[in-house]
Symmetry: C2
Subunit: 354 residues, 2 copies
Amino acid sequence: MKLNIAVLAGDGIGPEVTAEAVKVLKTVAKHGGHEFTFTDALIGGVAITAEGTPLPQKTIDVALAADAVLLGAVGDNKFNALTPDKRPEAGLLAIRQHLGGFANLRPCTAFNALSENSPLRPEVTKNVDILFVRELLGGLYFGKPRAWNKETGEAHNTMVYTKPEVERCAHIGFQLAQKRRGKLTQVDKANVLECSQLWRATVDEIAPQYPDVKVEHQLVDSMAIHLMNRPRDFDVVLTENLFGDILSDESGVITGSLGMLPSATIGGKVNLYEPVHGSAPDIAGQGKANPLGAILTAAMVLRHSGNLEEEALAIEKAVNEVLAAGHRTGDIAGQGKSANVTTSEMGDLVNTAL
Amino acid sequence: MKLNIAVLAGDGIGPEVTAEAVKVLKTVAKHGGHEFTFTDALIGGVAITAEGTPLPQKTIDVALAADAVLLGAVGDNKFNALTPDKRPEAGLLAIRQHLGGFANLRPCTAFNALSENSPLRPEVTKNVDILFVRELLGGLYFGKPRAWNKETGEAHNTMVYTKPEVERCAHIGFQLAQKRRGKLTQVDKANVLECSQLWRATVDEIAPQYPDVKVEHQLVDSMAIHLMNRPRDFDVVLTENLFGDILSDESGVITGSLGMLPSATIGGKVNLYEPVHGSAPDIAGQGKANPLGAILTAAMVLRHSGNLEEEALAIEKAVNEVLAAGHRTGDIAGQGKSANVTTSEMGDLVNTAL
Ligand SMILES: CC(C)[C@H](C(=O)O)[C@@H](O)C(=O)O
Ligand SMILES: CC(C)[C@H](C(=O)O)[C@@H](O)C(=O)O
């Protein structure tokens, strides 16, 4: 199997965690006789510094020519004074648009070895297995008009969705639910927002095509509490861009750290893979970052772009073993404890376990 | 002290929990020789049924003539097919606009007696004391244009804020932080939204006027996780309408039930008081609802409209005593346990403890 992977390591801890993911992918290639090639390109703050723009054309070209794009993280406090369209994050939003993937899959599974780290009780998090399907190309993130007029002091953004945008994402949610436990929870704020009413009606309209999937609707405010009170009740959670951003981050509470969460964005020209965590500039370059989110993201590359399910499972198993053996970066060390491995040591451990 | 209180009990469990809050207010009046009068008026689904509109003019008149408005809950599944502007919730949004209060104060305090109910570990929730200041009259809730065009299948909403809207709410946040632990956490999505950039810049501009308050900014996605991981780190949390809706509900995880959370909306012509929970149509009329959110809301009436701090504290103390004695409605009974009191019994117990 050949895979040409574009590597957009980005800012902060992006490069160090991505390096570990690449290391693991190389091991998988070697064991399985696969041919994975890696092409680096700039995005985010490092691209602004080097090229004056958060997403240089060269990066777009490299990404569009690849079979999969592996992204690290984007964001740097240095650019906080810039307007959203000039910031590192604009590069992330633009690459998402160029690649065209609209369904951002964010699995949240409880790791038994980490159950002591979660602020939630172990009996609440045990066996949680949720798959968020976050719409990634619509809503407030991209809607126009948008502006902050410093003269008048008025700012506005637009939340906008079309029915086809909702449909294509909902179909992915239903199909994934069919392959999992057959439940789809659609989250919105339909008691206030017209956009949410479109979402709810569209999902209800499609539902009869998937008679084996049980659909429920939740309001985003209630969902924020249900997700913590009874996370095991959820299977596939389908929602629009901003709600998906908030709820999938919140689900990091279940593993105890955002640093454990991977994601894959499918449905476009080229799939985009990125850990859910951010660039964490405060710990960047110190070997403190948790590479497991990136490594689990590499597993998603194999699963969704390489059709290498067995290899993906092997990575996930290796991660579990390393955790069971007690290896910890700071974010998953537990209350009052400190890391006993560095970023690259953690990557090596997973590599060896493979 | 005289207080003329408009009572808008609304839908679902609204009437039963409000009745208990009124009972408690009457006891306070009797003990303290105060003169509280109560005027009922319709809102929400019951108003649609009786008068064809979720907010009749009569209700607006009663509310505007009052010293304080005590609201129960609004929302009824019967009206789910209606567009947002015709639904029960439209009555709630409209009364908020008529009264003009823009700062919705939502305290979240951990009740020691309930610590076993939270899915969070007791050591995480212990002594939590957060005050959300949610902007209540702006953002996506009221922004125009807004529409769901069923012909074209497109829907849009507008998030909009002006600098004065942010300023007036921020000043309240800072002033409350001064009286509390001196920390203000402003929550936004400034890495993507222009509206959020306005919020962040405005709060930073005002901050020097409150040198004794420490300001920090958090992104809403990160905040959803911090709020569960380290809730004790937060004092006043200031944010826009939708983010405040989601985060304050999420904070219900800390007490283990939304049914415990009160709110007060200040800054307008007449203050509006409402528990954070919804109308819970599934348990309405069965004596299962938890009246403590409404009763604690009554305490906020005394505090913010009556300047009766001592009486407010007395109610809060009575609630703590009743909880310590083990009295529970279903929502706070704890995993696998059931209620040992009804809604009105709970109200009576607080009344007696007073
Ligand atoms: C960095 C930011 C623009 C991004 C988002 O909000 O989509 C991040 O929070 C994420 O969830 O991938
Ligand atoms: C019922 C609904 C319109 C309302 C809101 O979103 O403001 C409720 O969730 C609340 O928080 O008071």
